[in-house]
C-alpha cells in the first residue's frame, strides 16, 4: 500500500514537472518581452524542446539550453514532440485525490450516473436540479455590477470570418 502511494506520488510529481515541457510547432521568434514589437533575441526551429516558466496573455516565457525569452503561446504544444507523448494523467491524479481526502467524488458514490454515452442515450430528467439551477441565475444588473467590480470594460470587436 505504501509502495502504491509512493508510486502515485512520484507519478504526480513527474506529471506536474513534465506538464511544463513543450515544443514548438513552427519556427518561433524568441522575444525579449511579451509584445509583438519587442526585440527578437533568437529564433527556434520547429520541434524545439522548451521549458515553460511563465504565462502572460498570449505569451509564454520559455527556456532552452541556449536561450530564454517570450514566445507566442500558440507556437507551443505541451508534451514531447518526438514521441507525441502527452504529459499529465488525471487518472492517477484522481486516485491520489481519493488517497489524500479519504473520500471519493459523488460520481463514484452514485454509481450509475455520469456523462457516459449510454446515459446520454437513455436519459432521465432531473426537474429538481432544474429548479436549483434557476436559483443560481444572475440578472443583467447583477452581471453589470460583477463586471464593474472586476473593472471589465466592454470592447467592440466583430466576429471573425473562417480561416482561409
Amino acid at each position: 500500500m505504501r509502495l502504491l502511494l509512493a508510486f502515485c506520488l512520484s507519478c504526480c510529481i513527474f506529471a506536474a514537472h513534465s506538464a511544463e515541457t513543450a515544443y514548438t510547432v513552427r519556427t518561433t521568434e524568441v522575444k525579449a518581452k511579451p509584445f509583438s514589437d519587442a526585440d527578437t533575441l533568437s529564433s527556434l526551429p520547429e520541434k524545439s524542446r522548451v521549458e515553460v516558466l511563465e504565462r502572460k496573455s498570449g505569451w509564454m516565457q520559455i527556456k532552452t539550453d541556449s536561450t530564454k525569452g517570450w514566445v507566442k503561446m500558440l507556437s507551443l504544444r505541451f508534451g514531447d514532440a518526438a514521441a507525441q507523448k502527452k504529459s499529465g494523467d488525471s487518472g492517477l491524479g484522481a486516485l491520489f485525490n481519493v488517497a489524500a481526502t479519504g473520500g471519493s467524488g459523488s460520481t463514484v458514490s452514485t454509481g450509475v450516473r455520469g456523462l457516459s454515452e449510454e446515459n446520454l442515450k437513455n436519459p432521465h430528467p432531473n426537474p429538481q436540479a432544474m429548479k436549483e439551477l434557476q436559483r443560481y441565475a444572475t440578472g443583467k444588473k447583477g452581471a453589470q455590477n460583477f463586471a464593474k467590480s472586476g473593472k471589465l470594460a466592454m470592447r467592440q470587436i466583430d466576429y471573425l470570418p473562417p480561416a482561409k
Binding site: G105, L115, L133, I157
Partner: protein, 285 residues
C-alpha cells in the same frame, strides 16, 4: 399508345392554362414556392419552443450529472456567463449556467440559454478569462442554434412540424416533444459538426474579448487539454465529439495572430478565479 399519351398531355396543358386563366393568371411556380415556404415555416422552432426544448435537454443532462453543491462557485459562473451574454446578439435569453459535479472534462450547451461546465474541466483552468472563453464557446452554439439544427437534421420532418405547430401546453405528455428532447440529449453523445465547433471557437474568443477579458483564455484551455494524456478516460467523450484539439489550436493561431495584440492587456482575473475555486477542492494543481 403514344398517340393516346400525347393527347392526354395536350388536354392537360389546355386545362391547366385554362385554369390559370380562370384564377386570374396565378403564377403556378410562384404559388408552389409560397407553399414550400409555408411548409418550411412550420418546421421553424420559435423562441418559446426553443426554450422549452432546451429545458427538457438540460434536465436530462442534470439527470446524468448532478449540480455541484457549492453556491459560491455556481453564482460566480453565472456572473461571468451573464456578463458574457450581454455582449452577444441574444442578451435577453434566460441564460442559466451550471457546474456539473463530474470528473469528466467537458462543457455543454442546450438550446435557449443553458450552459454547463464540468468540475473536471474547471480543474484544468487557471483564470476567469479561461472560464469565460469556455462559456463563450458554448454560448456560441446557442447563438447560432447549432443544436437545434443538429436535432432537425436527425429527426423526421414530420416530428419537427408536429412539435413546431402545437400549442405550448401539456408538453410532458406530448410524444413529439419527448422524442425531440431525447434526440437533443443524444447529440451530446454524437457531437456537432466540426464546422460548428470551429465557429464556436472563433466566436467564443471574440465574445470574451468584448466582455473585457484577456482574449487568450479559450486557446489556453484547449492547449492545456491537448497536453493531457489522450488515453485519460475523463477526456473520452470530449475527444469523440469534437475535432482534434491540435486542429482547433492551429486555426485559432492563424486567426488570432496580430488581431488581438491591442487586447492583451485586458485582465485574466486569475486571482479572483483562484479565490473562488481555492478552498473547494476543485483545483488539483
Amino acid at each position: 399508345m403514344n398517340r393516346k399519351l400525347i393527347t392526354i398531355v395536350f388536354l392537360c396543358s389546355i386545362s391547366s392554362s385554362a385554369l390559370a386563366f380562370d384564377f386570374g393568371n396565378i403564377d403556378l411556380g410562384k404559388a408552389l414556392g409560397v407553399l414550400q415556404k409555408t411548409q418550411q415555416a412550420s418546421t421553424d422552432i420559435d423562441e418559446p419552443k426553443e426554450l422549452e426544448l432546451g429545458a427538457g435537454i438540460a434536465s436530462n443532462l442534470l439527470g446524468a450529472a448532478p449540480l455541484l453543491k457549492n453556491q459560491r462557485v455556481q453564482k460566480y459562473v453565472n456572473n461571468v456567463g451573464m456578463w458574457l451574454a450581454l455582449q452577444t446578439e441574444r442578451p435577453d435569453l434566460p441564460w442559466q449556467f451550471g457546474v456539473l459535479d463530474d470528473n469528466d472534462v467537458n462543457a455543454f450547451a442546450a438550446p435557449g440559454g443553458y450552459i454547463f461546465v464540468t468540475r473536471g474541466l474547471l480543474a484544468q483552468m487557471r483564470s476567469e478569462a479561461e472560464l469565460a472563453g469556455v462559456l463563450a464557446h458554448e454560448m456560441s452554439h446557442i447563438l447560432r442554434k447549432h443544436y437545434l439544427e443538429a436535432i432537425k437534421k436527425g429527426a423526421r420532418t414530420g416530428l419537427i412540424a408536429e412539435f413546431a405547430g402545437q400549442a405550448l401546453e401539456n408538453r410532458g405528455a406530448d410524444p413529439a416533444f419527448q422524442k425531440l428532447v431525447g434526440a437533443g440529449t443524444e447529440v451530446y453523445a454524437r457531437g456537432l459538426d466540426k464546422d460548428d465547433e470551429f465557429e464556436a471557437d472563433r466566436m467564443g474568443v471574440v465574445i470574451a474579448t468584448r466582455a473585457g477579458y484577456d482574449p487568450w483564455g479559450l486557446p489556453a484551455v484547449l492547449q492545456t487539454l491537448q497536453g493531457m494524456n489522450a488515453q485519460d478516460s475523463s477526456l473520452a467523450l470530449l475527444f469523440k465529439t469534437h475535432p482534434a484539439l491540435g486542429e482547433r489550436l492551429n486555426l485559432l493561431d492563424r486567426l488570432m495572430t496580430g488581431q488581438f495584440d491591442e487586447f492583451e492587456k485586458q485582465p485574466d482575473h486569475a486571482p479572483r478565479f483562484m479565490g473562488v475555486m481555492g478552498k473547494t477542492g476543485i483545483l488539483k494543481r
